[in-house]
């Protein structure tokens, strides 16, 4: 049935509209997380340029505004996009807490919101609505893969002592819920010893690092991202945390920006993952994406770039399949059954949208930091990769 539907969508009518598709994107372009927005903007330009060379795709007119990862500012930008610019799509947003407010507005204003970076499962779970779709892996899929990794690599008699630390907002809460849920599903014997939530964009983690060292878990699951993660790793390394427990971050830790920012301060042997890797999968598509990004910026892309690329390709593909933007039902149907070949997809796999949750299902690759000078300024890259395909349907609450 699903295959038939996809075939029907592929045999879409010719694009009925000639006006460009208007997309309003919200990314932090300055402050903490500013790099994600800047990388996303580059990837949007790359996608628009690429689409222009392809036949049958609509022209995208993309406006990127600096949200500064602030909720009220983001809400006001979203309102302006919808009420003044009449955009067809809202897109972007790095922080899940901001995304929840923007998504709520998208629901009220009946505007499609294509999430490209934030990862809290709440957006496709409790806060799901017909106007929201997310094209990047969410933290739930990351935690599911992480639990499988732990189950495969830590088989022993005594229960594992697992601690958690993550930012104090929905993304952190969901990550802790999900890793426990999937450890239970995998039948891993473990004991949760502690959970800590430093505030988002904190700079001093010594209080929590000392507490974790006193708790002495076997595994520390970390859900920080961006500069928070950089600061945490640097301070934890100085305080000797990594000698006492295995550090794991399954959603954002292996992001190239983290590896580059830490440079020689990145310890060897941390277990990390990301939604996109510059050195995996070893496909022509991924290599071209990374090479093109490097040619434009002189640096390698963070995973936000892959998310923004996916967002643009998803919008163009859905509009093409729906024959335009006027028929929102057709557009929604196209988005629900979206199937895309993206840079983060290994050979033989294509990212696909879960029609119920509106969450893109993608492969998750988890690895260990190993010395690798190929992608300077990073000195460590992920190696010894374990690959976890997504489930058939997104695991709802």
């Amino acid at each position: 049935m699903r295959a038939l539907l996809i075939l029907l969508l592929m045999a879409c009518p010719a694009l009925a509209q000639s006006a460009p598709v208007k997309v309003g994107c919200l990314f932090p372009l300055s402050g903490s997380g500013g790099l994600y927005g800047r990388d996303s903007t580059v990837a949007i330009d790359m996608a628009v340029d690429w689409l222009a060379t392809q036949e049958g795709y609509p022209e995208l007119q993309v406006d990127v505004q600096d949200s500064r990862s602030k909720t009220l500012r983001s809400l006001q930008i979203a309102r302006r996009f919808v009420e003044e610019d009449s955009v067809d799509f809202l897109c972007g947003v790095v922080s899940s807490s901001v995304a929840l407010t923007v998504s709520e507005y998208a629901r009220k204003s009946q505007t499609f919101f294509i999430g490209t970076d934030h990862a809290s499962p709440t957006l496709v779970g409790a806060a799901r609505h017909p106007w929201y779709f997310r094209v990047n892996n969410d933290a739930r899929q990351s935690m599911r893969a992480g639990a499988k990794y732990i189950a495969e690599h830590y088989k022993r008699g005594a229960p594992l002592r697992v601690a958690f630390i993550g930012p104090d907002y929905d993304y952190g809460y969901q990550s802790w819920d999900d890793i426990r849920r999937f450890l239970d599903e995998e039948g891993v014997a473990y004991t949760p010893v502690s959970a800590y939530w430093p505030k988002l964009f904190d700079t001093d983690y010594s209080l929590y690092i000392n507490a974790l060292m006193q708790d002495a878990p076997d595994i520390l699951v970390n859900a920080h991202w961006g500069l928070d993660l950089v600061a945490f790793v640097r301070q934890a390394d100085q305080l000797g945390l990594f000698q006492n427990m295995q550090f794991m971050n399954f959603d954002a830790g292996g992001n190239y920006e983290i590896l580059a920012d830490l440079g020689e301060d990145m310890p060897e042997g941390l277990i990390l993952s990301a939604r996109h890797h510059v050195n995996w999968p070893d496909t022509r598509h991924n290599a071209q994406f990374v090479k093109e990004f490097y040619a434009r910026t002189g640096r390698y892309p963070s995973y936000a770039a892959a998310g923004a690329w996916s967002g643009m390709i998803a919008i163009a593909t859905a509009v093409r399949q729906a024959g335009g933007t006027r028929d929102t039902a057709a557009l929604r149907l196209a988005l629900k059954h979206l199937q895309l070949k993206l840079p983060e997809d290994p050979e033989g796999f294509s990212s696909r949208m879960d029609p119920t949750s509106h969450q893109m299902l993608q492969v998750q690759a988890i690895g260990r930091t190993l010395p690798n000078p190929d992608f300077a300024p990073a000195t460590m890259m992920l190696g010894d990769i374990s690959v976890y395909p997504p489930p058939d349907i997104w695991p709802a609450d």
Partner: protein
């Protein structure tokens, strides 16, 4: 001074013992001092006098934080828009501008959300939108009324969510209650302010509410413990306390003490083992020296001591061996001199008491022989005369050995000596079918007593002839080597075995019937008197090589 003397005279082993003890005690002393300083520092850090001020300062900051949040909430409650919204109730959607204002107020990381409640406490609106979906207030939650606000909580982390607390403020217009504004605050934002008071493993700060609920700086439940310090209340029933991490405080100290004790014991054991080892090694080197000294005292100068010891011990052993050799040579020389003196006296006696009567006997026999007509008797007289002459020759040789004439050195051409030697021995050589070869630097000249040289070479050639009863070859060579004149007399005769070779220079030792046993002894003496050395190398069946070495230039004869 007395100690220094005593120390220098003390045994080496004792000195090692003292050195080992010092080496063990000094680190122990250092470790003890360091430990003492650590303990003193620990005491200082946990002392109440120092932390009292810090605790009160932190409590004041937390109180200020709470006042700030209450002030913010009061501002919201005082807004006409708040009263208007609450008055309208659920019938009217929240105004965008007012919602944005609430959102802005809630954007602080300390604030989870702001909620507007009706007079009957049911939720009308929340900013952000999802904030109102958080956990409900537990029935048994602590409750404090302070400054016109209700403080509810703290609620500890539960079900994988962080802790929080509420500040609730009533909204009234003209004394008529319209509802409430409520701010849900992050508990850790309050407790994190206690972090500067934390000393991991030693003490931890806690926010204690109504003396029954302790919250750690991380916003999690804190374990009860011995209270070191308590602040003034920051709210009624809320205070900051410093709690000793008793187990964690004692365990590292005990571990440290045990580690230090173990370290000290290991150090002492290691030093003891080192001392024993050093003592054994030293004894291993010194014992042969002691045995060597014992051997010398017993008159054994032939046994050397091993001289492969390290450093000064090896040098000492080498010096000991050198001393042993020198002593042996000195004693041998002294004995030889005394023996010669005795022999000289005896020789003088023999010359006087034997030779003179023999001369009388010989003269008498000669006279009797002249007048004897009986041929048989004449043969007997001749035999007596021959025997008397043989005895005289032996006495003559003995006199030469015992009282050798002092050399009178002159420049001697070896060629001339060899020529006269060949003339003197020609008949004997022919008789024994012996060939004599002369080789080397025939024009060589050197300082020596010519009579002695002739006697030396004659004795050696005659000995060689005697060693070759069936004929053979005698090779005489002369060479100049390293500033010395080297003469060799080699024969192809019977040779000698090692025991014979050892005794061959002794006076009166002979292997031939009729030999006096003084030939080689006299030869060796003559060589020595002319500052030369003589070496005899012989193998049974292969022959004998006698090597004489003389200084090429004039030198003093040994005394």
């Amino acid at each position: 001074m007395v100690f220094a003397k005593s120390w220098s005279r003390g045994s080496l082993a004792r000195r090692y013992m003292v050195a080992a003890l010092i080496a063990a005690l000094v680190p122990l002393l250092i470790i003890s001092v360091l430990y003492d300083r650590y303990a003193a520092d620990l005491l200082h850090r946990v002392s109440a006098s120092r932390v009292e001020g810090e605790t009160e300062a932190v409590a004041a900051r937390m109180s200020s934080f709470l006042s700030g949040q209450m002030n913010r909430l009061e501002n919201i409650a005082d807004l006409p828009a708040t009263a208007a919204f609450l008055r309208a109730g659920a019938e009217q959607p929240i105004d965008d501008a007012y919602f944005d204002f609430l959102l802005l107020e809630a954007e602080s990381p300390e604030v989870y959300g702001i909620e507007l409640l009706a007079d009957d406490e049911h939720l009308l609106a929340a900013a952000p939108s999802g904030a109102g979906k958080r956990e409900s207030i537990p029935v048994m939650a602590p409750f404090v009324r302070h400054g016109g606000a209700d403080i509810i909580g703290p609620i500890l982390p539960e079900n994988g969510r962080p802790g929080w607390f509420l500040i609730r403020m009533p909204v009234t217009v003209d004394n008529q209650p319209l509802g409430f504004v409520m701010m849900r605050l992050r508990l850790a934002s309050l407790t994190e302010q206690m972090a500067p008071l934390s000393l991991p493993g030693i003490r931890s700060p806690q926010l204690v509410v109504f003396d029954r609920l302790g919250v750690a700086a991380t916003g999690t439940l804190a374990a009860a413990g011995e209270v070191l310090q308590s602040s003034a209340p920051i709210l009624p029933g809320w205070r900051v306390q410093l709690v000793a991490e008793t187990g964690r405080l004692d365990a590292p100290r005990q571990n440290l003490r045990l580690t230090l004790l173990l370290l000290a014991a290991l150090l002492a054991a290691a030093m003891g083992a080192l001392f024993v080892q050093m003592s054994r090694r030293l004894s291993g080197y010194l014992r042969p020296l002691r045995d060597g000294a014992d051997a010398v005292s017993r008159g054994d100068f032939a046994t050397p001591v091993p001289d492969n010891g390290p450093g000064e011990l090896g040098s000492l052993a080498q010096a000991f061996n050198h001393m042993r050799r020198q002593l042996r040579e000195m004693i041998n020389s002294r004995v030889d001199m005394e023996r010669r003196g005795a022999l000289g006296d005896m020789a003088a006696g023999i010359a006087h008491e034997v030779r003179n009567p023999l001369a009388t006997v010989s003269t008498t026999i000669y006279g009797m022989k002249k007048s004897e007509p009986d041929p048989d008797r004449i043969v007997m007289y001749d035999a007596i005369t021959d025997e008397i002459e043989r005895v005289d020759r032996t006495i003559e040789a003995f006199l030469k050995y015992a009282r050798p004439a002092a050399p009178v050195k002159s420049r001697v051409a070896v060629r001339e000596v060899f020529r006269s030697l060949r003339t003197l021995t020609a008949a004997r050589l022919m008789e024994r079918n012996v060939t004599m070869n002369l080789a080397g630097e025939s024009r060589l000249e050197f300082e020596i007593d010519p009579t002695h040289l002739r006697q030396i070479l004659l004795n050696l050639v005659l000995n060689a002839v005697e060693a070759m009863p069936d004929g053979g070859v005698i090779s005489l060579t002369v060479l100049r080597q390293n500033g010395e004149v080297v003469l060799t007399v080699a024969d192809t005769g019977a040779g000698m075995d090692a025991p014979t070779l050892q005794k061959v220079l002794r006076p009166f030792f002979t292997t031939r019937a009729g030999g006096s046993g003084l030939g080689l002894a006299v030869t060796a003496e003559l060589v020595r008197n002319n500052a030369g050395t003589m070496n005899i190398d012989s193998r049974p069946g292969k022959g004998t090589v006698v090597t004489l070495t003389f200084p090429a230039h004039k030198s003093e004869a040994p005394e």
